[in-house]
Symmetry: C2
Subunit: 412 residues, 2 copies
């Protein structure tokens, strides 16, 4: 069966697109921001909170879920949606980025990424085929190909070699994805089915299709990833190679890894227009509210970033007046909500003084309430972005966010 | 003005009473359990969650709130209800228990409890008058008198001396409470009003009543506390002394401090019937679901305990089938809710397998979801207790809880 994945552009404003992405678990209005649920939970909030702040799609990390609790266990329990209680659209990354950044003693070869788990030191090999199978078991609506994450700085020669390898890995991911799609249905499990237990080679995985739960979400789509560092020709090369393989849609990877914002914007401006206009474009791991609007104005539709949730836990809040550090003494007796322009539960219910007290006291509630607010700020910003595209006023919104977030935080 | 505090018994079943307690911030159906919000927040849940699990009244800790963020600050921000966002009935303890158990270098004299803060080592003196004033500033609907917490084991002579002292302190608390009540309204603040800053003597507190925000909740009631350890004659003596002073209602203190359950039940059985039938009776710091039902059957109406919330954070769940330790490996692929008989958000949304995964992974969500469940279990139990009293079936319920919670946990 062909995946029930589709995308259509409803409005444009310059290069920016207001669209609608249809997945096996529902519709996503784009441009969209995906809160990050690393281990199958967006830290500090429940699925109900996510709905209330306006999330339409969330992201899970394949690396973490593969190592614990295991893709086999999640498959046996019906897949990631059922396991986590989030019944809306979901995307998982390939696991490559974390295998590269968290795994120990990692070695990258043509086969894949060999590393030791940060949890228990156990050795694993993440191959393109394996990453595809793990995601088939996890069952997100959108799976990502395994690409190579290149250590920076890298020479143009190194970037080229890595880009070529990523293209070869993308081909292997797609081949396995199409092969799995042909099974067309969920195979009932008789063995353990947990790839943690015998993940040495991709080939060892499906000796007997009847014994494995292979595909928990038959409507899964697969996105390719454009690499090429900050070298325009290599980005173009990567686009050509990746489009030649053909995916449901395409992401721009390898950015937001420490390069200057202007460099990132340039790469996006160079790359996005080369991607099919009738498919969503996903800029991985980006970013600040300003970064997001800058990328939208260059034609990007999907974003994910830990910033709103991680900053919330660290007491760094986003508001319509700029950043706010809640532990600052000036908020000790401040009766105002975090953001008078915000209608989230936190802002409707609690004062800055109370939130400061919870944060300073190390209360769990600080993380919960701050996360609800920061996610709402991000998702409200996306709603404003979508509206601005419809009304042709995205540039005004961009300038306004630039003014707010370019200056120092409001409490510094 | 006389406080808008009242209580009436609607039904009885033996010594057990089904009642209704009316406070300045609403009605509480009794027997009732009060979740503990130590620092102005019940750890892991929002005021909205508290409403949803069925909480009607919560408890705050005077010691913690006095030291941080300070009673003066909370008063300036309108009192504890406005500060915390919980607009229902609220009770605070006197601060004595924590000053005794958490304070460093504590010395108890006739004046009060001198100690150093566990936060910063600063020296404080908590007097009966001071504890009353701090609670007047905090503004709960029910304030408690300062009583002496006696270190165990103690001789009968020591217990008698302590009981007599607690009675003298109770008199001083009541005198100051009535004096404050005569101010009859909120005095607008001109100074800092924070008793942390000059709390050495009670007398230094109100040199100029106009300069202090004294009473944030004019409808506040004050409960006396019966002491007397495990010596029946001293309990009777304490009842006589405390009733002679006269309070809106009475608590039984000094229990749940390590004595055997049967001893506690005996003291309750001895003490509760001596308290006025037309006032609620509050057993402080108790306890397990079984302890609560045992005490209800001996005439107690109100309870508080950190057990449901603290155990939740430690992965110890209460269910209709007994205790459950969520980290146990047997739950790794258990698709059932924590408690099939429970209708809380956690049980409606998540499996034991997912909750185990969150707990083992150290996710914040484990504390949040487990707390929602444990509180709902306690509050559902109270609803069943109230219903059983109406139907005259409390003994059946008691036997059923005894059977469930006397045996080892279901997963051990």
């Amino acid at each position: 069966m062909s995946p029930p994945f589709s995308f259509r552009v409803l409005h444009t404003d310059g290069a920016a697109r207001r669209g609608e992405m249809i997945t096996a678990h529902g519709v996503v209005q784009t441009p969209a921001f995906m809160p990050v649920g690393t281990r199958g939970a967006v830290k500090g909030v429940t699925p109900r909170d996510l709905r209330e702040v306006g999330a339409e799609i969330i992201l899970g990390n394949t690396y973490h879920l593969w190592l614990r609790p295991g893709d086999g266990l999640i498959a046996r329990l019906g897949g990631l949606h059922r396991f986590t209680g989030w019944d809306g659209p979901m995307l998982t990354d390939s696991g490559g980025f974390q295998a590269f950044s968290l795994g120990e003693k990692r070695v990258i070869t043509e086969d894949g990424i060999r590393f030791r788990s940060h949890l228990d030191g156990s050795e694993h090999l993440l191959t393109p085929e394996g990453a595809t199978e793990i995601q088939a078991r996890l069952g997100p609506d959108i799976a990502m190909v395994l690409d190579e994450c290149l250590a920076q700085p890298a020479s143009a020669v190194e970037v080229r070699a890595s880009t070529e390898r990523s293209a070869r890995w993308a081909r292997r991911c797609r081949d396995r994805f199409l092969q799995l799609a042909e099974t067309e249905s969920v195979t009932v499990l008789s063995g353990d089915g947990d790839s943690r237990l015998d993940s040495e080679t991709a080939e060892s995985r499906i000796p007997n299709p009847e014994s494995r739960l292979l595909v928990t979400n038959p409507g899964q789509a697969q996105f390719g990833i454009i690499q090429g560092g900050t070298v325009p020709e290599l980005r173009t090369l990567s686009v050509e190679r990746t489009l030649a393989i053909g995916f449901e849609a395409y992401a721009i990877g390898g950015l937001s890894v420490g390069e200057p914002a202007d460099t990132m914007y340039s790469v996006v401006a160079h790359t996005a227009p080369q991607l099919p206009a009738d498919r969503p474009r996903y800029l991985m791991g980006v970013g600040t509210p300003l970064d997001i609007v800058e990328a939208v104005s260059r034609g990007v539709d999907l974003f994910d970033c830990v910033m709103p949730t991680r900053n919330a836990r660290n007491g760094q809040l986003f508001t319509s007046e700029g950043r706010l550090t809640i532990k600052n003494a000036r908020y000790a007796d401040d009766e105002r909500p975090l953001d008078p322009a915000c209608s989230c539960y936190t802002c409707r219910t609690h004062s800055r003084a109370y939130l400061r007290h919870l944060f300073v006291s190390g209360e769990i509630g600080a993380a919960v309430l701050n996360t609800i607010h920061n996610l709402r700020f991000y998702l409200d910003t996306m709603a404003r972005v979508r509206q601005a595209i419809v009304f042709g006023t995205l540039e005004t919104l961009r300038l306004s966010l630039q003014a707010i977030f370019s200056r120092p935080s409001s409490d510094s």
